[in-house]
Symmetry: C2
Subunit: 391 residues, 2 copies
C-alpha cells in the first residue's frame, strides 16, 4: 500500500537526544493536497509558507518535511528565512521545485531553529528515503505524545479496494510549550481537488475541530489530506460510503489525541442536540468541553451537573432556553425540560462519572441536528506538567 | 453614614452551621437602583425575578434579601415559586410591596431551597433589622470566600461629602458548586436613574466584567448599585471625578475577588493596547487571562511568553498582526513588532514571574486605547478544591 510514498526519518539531536524528530515524505507520483491550518491569528512560519502556496494555487505536493521540537513560531522574519533555507536545501537535494515542498514544525514557541543541525538531519532523511516505515514517521513527529498515532483502513467501492492511512501527533492536552496537532492523511482514491477539499473540511470540522483541548489553537495546527491515485472513477453513487470511511479514520485519530492528553484520566463525550444547526450545537458542546469546572468535576468523579448546564448556558446560544433543556448523564435523565427529574439520584450520576468514558447528552429543542465533542478531564498532573519549567 | 440603611443577618443552619448566611437590607428612605446580571442564558430564579422587576420598570428598592449556600438555580418552576414564597413572607413581615423586594441567592446549583429554614432565618433577619453591621452583611453573603470584601470611600464634590460603600462576595476562582459574584454598592450621591445606570454599566464593564475567572459566568452573578440620597444637585461639572471615585470602589472590590480566588497564588494583570476599540482590546486580554496554559505557567513561575501571544492570537481579533505585536513582561520588552528583542533574557522574565503580581503588556497597534484585565493563576489547589466531592 502506498508504494509510491517514500519516507525518510532521522534525529536532529536538538531536543530529544537520539530520538527520531525529523521526517521527509516524498510522493513519487502525481498527487493533490488539501491543507487546513490553525485559525489562530498568530501563525508559525511554516504555516505561513503553506498558506502562501494555497494562495498561489500550488496544488501538487511532492515533499513534506517535518521537524519536531521547535515550532518556528514567534520568530519573526528570521524564522521565515530559516524555514525557506531548509526548503531550498531539500529542493536541491531532491531536485524538486520549492513550490512543491510543504514544511511543518511543531514544538517550542519563540526560539529560533537550529538550522545547522536541521540541515544535517533533513540531509540524512533524504539519504534514506524509502528506508523508514509509517511507524517511524509517526514517531518522528511526536513532541510530548506518549505514543504514536496511526490509523489504517481499507474499504471497497464496487470491486476497487481503497486504502487510507492517517498519521497524527497530538496535543498532550496541550503541551508544555505549545501543543501542535499535526495530521497527515493519505488515500489512493482519486478525487478532484474540489471533492478532496470539501471532504477534508467537512470531516475535520467534526473530528479534529471537535475535540477540545483548552479552547485554544496553537500557531502550528495543520491537517493535510492527500490523494495519490492516478486512476479516475465516478464516485457519485458512493459519496456517503466514502465520507463515512474517511470520517472513521479522522475520528479515530482525534480520539487518540484526546486519550493521550496530558494528565488525562477520562474521555468525556458531549452530545448536544435539538438546536437548528450543527454549528450552534457544536458551540454549546465546546463550551461545556472547555469548562475547567466540568473537567475538574470529571477528574474528581463528581457528577456536578450544575456546572454542565452553566457552561452550556454560557455559550450564549440564542435558542437556549432552560424550559427546553433536558440533560442526561450516561443515559440517566437529570433534568427534563428544565425541571429536576424525580428518578435521578446522585448515586446514579456518581456511577457514570466513575467510568473511563463519561457520556453527557444535552437536548435543547426538537430539531434532529446534533454535534459530538470530545474532551479529557483536568487533573493535577496537567498542572504539574504545564507548570514545570521548560528547560 | 447610611443611617437609613438597616441590616439584619442570621443563620439558616442549612449549609454552614451557625455562620451568618442570610441577610435583609432595608432602605428606609426613597432610593433607586441599577442591576446588572449574568449574561449566562441559564439564570437562577432570583435573577429571573430581578429581571422581571427591571422589565416592569420598578425602580425603587426597599428590601434586599440574600441567602448563601444555595443558588436556587436549575430548580425549574418549583425554584421560582420558592423564591416568591420567601418574598411574600418578608413582604408581610415588613409591610412592603413584593415589587420593592429584590432577592439574591448564591451557592450550590440544582438543589431546591430549604424554604422552611430560610423562612425562619429571614424572620430573624427582620426581627433584628438595624442590629447588624456592614461587616456582618459582608460575612453573611460569603460562600467559599476566605474573607469578606468591603470597600468604603468618601470624596467631596465642592463642599458636599459623598459616601460610597461596597460589599461583594466572590468567586473563589469559581467555587466548587458554581461561584456567584454578588456586589452591592451604595452611595448617597443623588443621581438620576439614567446617570446611575450609565455609571454602573461603564464601571462594571471595566471592573467586575474585566476580571477573568474561567471565562464563564454563573447563573446568579449580580451587581446592584443604589443611591439613597434625596438631595438633588447638578453634577455635570464633576462627571469625571464621580466616575473615578466610583471606579476605585468597584475596582478594589474586583481585585479582592481575584486575590481570594481558589488556590490563587498570583495576581496577573494583562494590559492590551493599540487596537481601535476598548472592546477589542478587552477581548484579547480576556483570552490571555482565560488561558489555562498562561495560568499554569504563572503558577509555575515560568515566563512562557509563547503561550501569551498564542492565546492573544486566538482571540480572533481582525486587527491582530504579528508584525505589529510587541510584548513586555514586567516592563521588559520580549517581542518588538513581531521580532525577538535582543535584550530579553529568560532570567529577566523569570524574575518577573516570581513576583506576586505579574504584569503583561501586549501592544498591537498605534491607537491609544487600552484595556486592563486581571486574573489569577491555576494551581494544583484549584483542582483539588474543584474536584472534591460536593457533599
Amino acid at each position: 500500500m502506498f508504494k509510491d510514498i517514500k519516507i525518510g526519518c532521522s534525529s536532529s539531536r536538538t531536543k530529544y537526544g537520539n530520538r527520531l524528530d525529523t521526517a521527509i515524505v516524498k510522493l513519487e507520483k502525481k498527487a493533490i493536497w488539501s491543507g487546513l491550518f490553525t485559525s489562530n491569528k498568530f501563525k508559525s512560519a511554516p504555516v505561513e509558507i503553506c498558506l502562501d502556496k494555497i494562495n498561489k494555487n500550488i496544488s501538487e505536493p511532492k515533499v513534506l518535511m517535518i521537524n519536531a521540537g521547535n515550532a518556528n513560531a514567534a520568530t519573526g522574519e528570521k524564522g521565515k528565512k530559516d524555514s525557506e533555507k531548509l526548503i531550498d536545501e531539500v529542493s536541491s537535494l531532491l531536485n524538486i521545485s520549492t513550490d512543491n515542498i510543504l514544511p511543518f514544525s511543531t514544538g517550542v514557541v519563540g526560539e529560533l531553529l537550529n538550522t545547522k543541525k536541521l540541515s544535517q538531519a533533513f540531509k540524512k532523511c533524504t539519504d534514506q528515503l524509502g528506508g523508514n516505515s509509517w511507524e517511524d514517521f509517526a514517531n518522528s513527529i511526536m513532541t510530548t505524545d506518549t505514543c504514536h498515532k496511526i490509523v489504517k483502513k481499507e474499504f471497497k467501492l464496487g470491486n476497487q479496494k481503497i486504502n487510507v492511512i492517517g498519521v497524527a501527533k497530538g496535543v498532550g492536552m496541550i503541551e508544555p510549550n505549545m501543543a501542535t496537532t499535526l495530521s497527515f492523511i493519505f488515500t489512493d482514491l482519486k478525487l478532484s481537488k474540489i471533492q478532496l477539499k470539501k471532504l477534508h473540511k467537512d470531516i475535520c470540522n467534526q473530528t479534529f475541530n471537535a475535540i477540545s483541548i483548552d479552547g485554544d489553537q496553537s500557531p502550528s495546527d495543520s491537517s493535510i489530506f492527500i490523494t495519490t491515485s492516478e486512476k479516475k472513477r465516478d464516485i457519485n453513487k458512493y459519496q456517503k460510503k466514502i465520507k463515512n470511511n474517511f470520517y472513521d479514520v479522522f475520528k479515530e485519530l482525534a480520539e487518540k489525541l484526546v486519550l493521550d492528553g496530558e494528565g488525562a484520566t477520562k474521555l468525556i463525550k458531549i452530545r448536544v442536540s435539538g438546536l437548528r444547526s450543527y454549528a450552534a450545537s457544536k458551540k454549546v458542546a465546546l463550551k461545556v468541553a472547555n469548562s475547567p469546572l466540568v473537567k475538574t468535576a470529571a477528574y474528581g468523579e463528581d457528577p456536578n451537573w450544575g456546572r454542565i448546564i452553566t457552561a452550556a448556558g454560557n455559550a450564549g446560544e440564542k435558542e437556549f432556553d432552560m424550559k427546553n433543556l433536558s440533560l442526561k448523564i450516561g443515559g440517566h435523565p437529570v433534568l427534563i425540560n428544565g425541571n429536576l427529574s424525580p428518578k435521578y439520584s446522585e448515586s446514579k450520576g456518581k456511577k457514570e462519572f466513575r467510568k473511563k468514558t463519561i457520556n453527557i447528552e444535552i437536548k435543547l429543542g426538537k430539531s434532529k441536528q446534533s454535534a459530538l465533542v470530545m474532551t479529557s478531564d483536568l487533573s493535577p498532573e496537567y498542572i504539574s506538567i504545564n507548570s514545570d519549567y521548560r528547560s
